[in-house]
Symmetry: C2
Subunit: 138 residues, 2 copies
């Protein structure tokens, strides 16, 4: 959390109660919550917190690289406070999102034909499938 304060200060962003709580809640959550889910959870602590604040804060945090937004195929974007390099596995049935590491992929070179395209900034892998539990209940 200290690290978060530092990073935020370094970016010239104010440290507000709301932001701290949003980040804290996201870091604690293991289920990659959507903005709305976070809003509901946070209302327990800060009853007046607005959904807009959640969205604004999540955008700021993402822009400053403190969290990441997961573009699954759902409508709602989902978020992740884990800053380690990792990828996502989505169960298309129950919508659960699982983190995983894939170092072999991280180390691999993109195809040579892209060498002269421009500047590559990030690479996302999302795997889709049906998790064990959902497979059983089908």
């Amino acid at each position: 959390m200290d690290e978060f304060e530092k990073a935020f200060r370094a970016s010239g962003l104010k440290i507000t109660h709301q932001r701290m709580e949003i980040y804290r809640e996201l870091a604690r959550a293991k289920d990659h919550p959507a903005a709305e889910t976070l809003h509901k959870r946070l209302q327990q602590k800060i009853p007046t917190i607005s959904l807009d604040t959640i969205y604004r804060t999540l955008s700021s945090l993402e822009q400053h690289g403190l969290i990441c937004r997961i573009n699954s195929r759902e409508k709602q974007a989902r978020y992740d406070a884990d800053r380690r390099r990792h990828h996502h596995l989505v169960c298309t049935q129950c919508k659960q999102i699982l983190d995983f590491q894939w170092e072999a992929f991280d180390r691999s070179e993109p195809p040579a034909e892209l060498k002269h395209w421009g500047r590559l900034l990030r690479r996302d892998v999302i795997l889709y499938g049906i998790c064990g539990k959902c497979s059983e209940s089908m």
Copy 2:
């Protein structure tokens, strides 16, 4: 296009004028158009075609594996009629989407820890960056 008719018939879907034109337009386009873009283009040919038909048709085509939907970080979903296995590279500046092949990745095994998770169905890679042209003009 014949192949498309066959696949559509095999799925029990009727072949309508609208669907054929939507597919034809998408197959011709090289810019991975969004539904709205396709709608505008198709109105030249079929002035009364509705946006809803575009959305419905794109969903059907995607469900039957005839086209693919690209989840870039934009709001609008974009589509691609290329059925060969390929991946996407997005310029975050001009929003251009480029197709590329990455056979080494396609052949690679996902991490062992996922072996017992469930059934993997697909894997998407999206690379993000700034293309040459946009780099120059910055």
